[in-house]
């Protein structure tokens, strides 16, 4: 019980401080716009966030399997969602990584519907890779679909089935 209330407390804290964070971000829009060219830190943080996200998804998959929750179709769908998110994070990481490799790959929009991808010799495949990984929605949309169907099944299945008490004997 003590642990649970601690959890709730932390969650409440996050809820309370989230609007403050958002406000700070939005109001500092002007200031940030002027500094963007120099800020490689933003990219690094973003990349780290992708890695953490991917790691969290991997952990989630592991736990869902460990607790035997995947027997329940709802949680199985959520597991698939986690798999897709994991892949998507790796994918996104690659996209951002390639965008930073300016000496290997140079990309530019030359006309409204034309893209110029200029890779160093012997690195042509990188251009192709970049083109493919750019289609990242092909991973995150299925992830959302899986999440949705998982939630739907959890909602439909009798409440007790998806509950911990029943899922694990001890």
């Amino acid at each position: 019980m003590v642990q649970l209330s601690a959890m709730k407390y932390i969650l409440n804290k996050i809820i309370r401080f989230l609007p403050v964070f958002l406000a700070v971000l939005f109001f500092s829009e002007q200031a940030m716009a002027t500094q963007m060219h120099g800020g490689i830190e933003g990219v690094v943080v973003h990349q780290m966030a992708h890695i953490v996200f991917a790691g969290a998804m991997a952990l989630l998959i592991y736990w869902l399997r460990q607790h035997g929750l995947v027997v329940n179709p709802g949680w199985r769908q959520i597991q698939y969602a986690a798999v897709f998110f994991l892949l998507w994070n790796i994918n996104a990481f690659i996209v951002h990584f390639l965008e930073e490799q300016v000496d290997i790959l140079d990309m530019a929009q030359i006309e409204p519907w034309q893209l110029r991808l200029q890779a160093q010799p012997a690195f042509e495949w990188v251009a192709w890779l970049y083109y493919v990984v750019k289609l990242d929605h092909l991973l995150c949309v299925p992830a959302m679909i899986c999440l949705y169907s998982g939630l739907k099944r959890l909602l439909e299945s009798p409440a007790s089935e998806s509950r911990p008490g029943k899922m694990e004997g001890s």
Binding site: E29, M36, H46, P112, L135, H137, V141, A159
Partner: protein
């Protein structure tokens, strides 16, 4: 390489739109789940994931769409100024999803423990509730079982044909079964209060003996004790008993089981009597036989002498006296031989009622029985039977003569027959209202030569001869008598059909 960015554009715009729509839909479901089961933190987790994903979808989706539109419109610089904000919000949303997810495991375990505890509590409370609700029922059931068992043992106590007595260590009677009341001659309504078991002992020392044995061994088995009924009659019995150390809260008690062996003792006495009669019979038969022959010679010679003598002379009268007494002797000897069953029986079909009535009429004709009521009561169902009619007639004559003698001048004699179907026996009863037989004489009246009558009046052979006859027919004679009130002789004969 120059390539069209149409696929990227389409996937980007459509995907972003789809992400926004899907994230909203997911959030709706997650909130519904949470509302359904407020206490489940897991749903809270899912709701948070969905919130973060919404934030992500909005910031990124809106950003991408805006970017594509602005790029198309050639206003890349505007996009460049928005981009860091959008990217940061994306980063933030990832972090929220990740950090919330990191709590998933612990949350899950805690929630599971709570659920399990809850279930355990629930089942415990159910059990308690059940017990509460059924306690009365369970108690009732249990006490019913106890009652049944108690009834069973009580029945044994009550139905037992032996006396069962429970006494304290000091011999004070605490409980006594109905047979015990019967045996000790107590009324059922009588209270036992304070009566001691030894009060019913003929010899007080017997109790001391029993007490000592109980002290030494803890039990006694089949000790022969003469009990004294409350009406003073004595009764042989076998006493067994044992200490019951009982439950800690109970007093020590002694349980006695007492068997009535009076019946057996009586039987043994009768056997001894029969034995005695049989040996006397044999002895007298031998003597009778020896005496019979000289008596015959004496009778023959005296009759021979009488034939040559003129009547009315002194010698004639003397010889007549000799003849009379010899004849008397001969009849006594014959009686003796009868008693010893040495004469040959003459079996023939007899109607017992007719025979009895004949005998009664004969007696009425020859003795002075005026002033005496004669009652006849014959059972019409009595079947014809095979027996030595002459001998049975003799038995009845003896019994009726005795009755007549006992009644004296005034009284009642009744003669009755009764057919006892289940035993296939005939009971011939001779009852009188005469002077009766004293208890001490009851066992002796069948002895040869036992008589209470003055010499000359009775030889004391009547009943012993009758006894011999009835025995030889496989029957028995039973006597019941109370001095001053009357006597009842019952002759029981087995019916042998012709």
């Amino acid at each position: 390489m120059i390539i069209t960015n149409l696929p990227i554009w389409i996937v980007d715009v459509a995907g972003s739109a789809a992400m926004i729509v899907l994230s909203l839909m997911c959030l709706r479901l997650a909130l519904r789940l949470k509302r359904l089961d407020q206490s489940n933190v897991i749903w809270t987790y899912l709701a948070w994931v969905c919130y973060a994903l919404c934030l992500f979808a909005f910031s990124r989706g809106a950003g991408h769409i805006l970017k594509q539109v602005l790029v198309m419109a050639g206003r890349v610089n505007i996009w460049e100024s928005i981009r860091p904000v959008s990217g940061s919000i994306n980063t933030l949303s990832f972090m929220v999803v990740s950090s919330v997810t990191l709590f998933f495991h612990r949350t899950w375990i805690i929630y599971r423990d709570i659920q399990n505890d809850k279930l355990a509590l629930q089942s415990l409370s159910d059990e308690l509730l059940f017990l509460n609700r059924h306690l009365e029922h369970l108690v009732a059931e249990r006490s019913k079982e106890v009652a049944v068992s108690e009834r069973k043992y009580r029945r044994i106590f009550e139905v037992s044909k032996d006396m069962i007595a429970v006494t304290g260590r000091d011999g004070i009677m605490l409980e006594l079964n109905p047979e015990g009341y019967e045996m000790l001659g107590l009324k059922r309504t009588e209270r036992l209060n304070g009566k001691r078991f030894k009060d019913f002992f003929s010899e007080e020392t017997d109790w001391e003996r029993i007490e000592k044995m109980l002290e030494n061994k803890g039990f006694i088995t089949n000790i022969e004790i003469e009990l004294k009924r409350s009406d003073g009659a004595r009764m042989g019995s076998l006493v067994s008993g044992s200490y019951d150390r009982g439950l800690p809260v109970q007093e020590e008690t002694i349980h006695f089981i007492v068997k009535d062996i009076e019946q057996r003792r009586m039987m043994e006495k009768q056997m001894a009597q029969a034995d005695k009669l049989a040996s006397i019979g044999q002895l007298s038969a031998g003597i009778a036989h020896e005496i019979n022959n000289p008596l015959g010679v004496i009778l023959g010679y005296s009759q021979l002498l009488l034939r040559n003598e003129k009547t009315e002379t002194d010698r004639y009268n003397d010889l007549k006296t000799i003849e009379k007494h010899v004849k008397n002797c001969k009849s006594i000897v014959e009686d003796l031989l009868n008693f010893a069953r040495s004469s040959k029986p003459e079996i023939k079909t007899t109607r017992i009622n007719e025979a009895a009535d004949d005998v009664l009429n004969f007696i009425l004709h020859h003795s002075k029985l005026d002033g005496i009521d004669i009652i006849r009561n014959y059972d019409e169902e009595a079947p014809p039977m095979l027996l030595d009619e002459k001998k049975i007639r003799q038995v009845l004559i003896n019994l009726l003569m005795n009755a007549g003698h006992a009644v004296g001048k005034k009284g009642r004699i009744s003669l009755s027959t009764e057919y006892i179907k289940q035993d296939n026996k005939i009971a011939i009863k001779v009852a009188d209202t005469g002077y009766g037989i004293e208890e001490k004489n009851l066992t002796r009246i069948f002895d040869p030569f036992f008589t209470t009558k003055p010499t000359g009046e009775g030889t004391g052979l009547g009943l012993s001869v009758s006894y011999g006859i009835v025995k030889s027919h496989g029957g028995e004679i039973i006597v019941e008598s109370k001095p001053g009130t009357g006597t009842l002789f019952t002759v029981l004969l087995p019916v042998v059909s012709p």
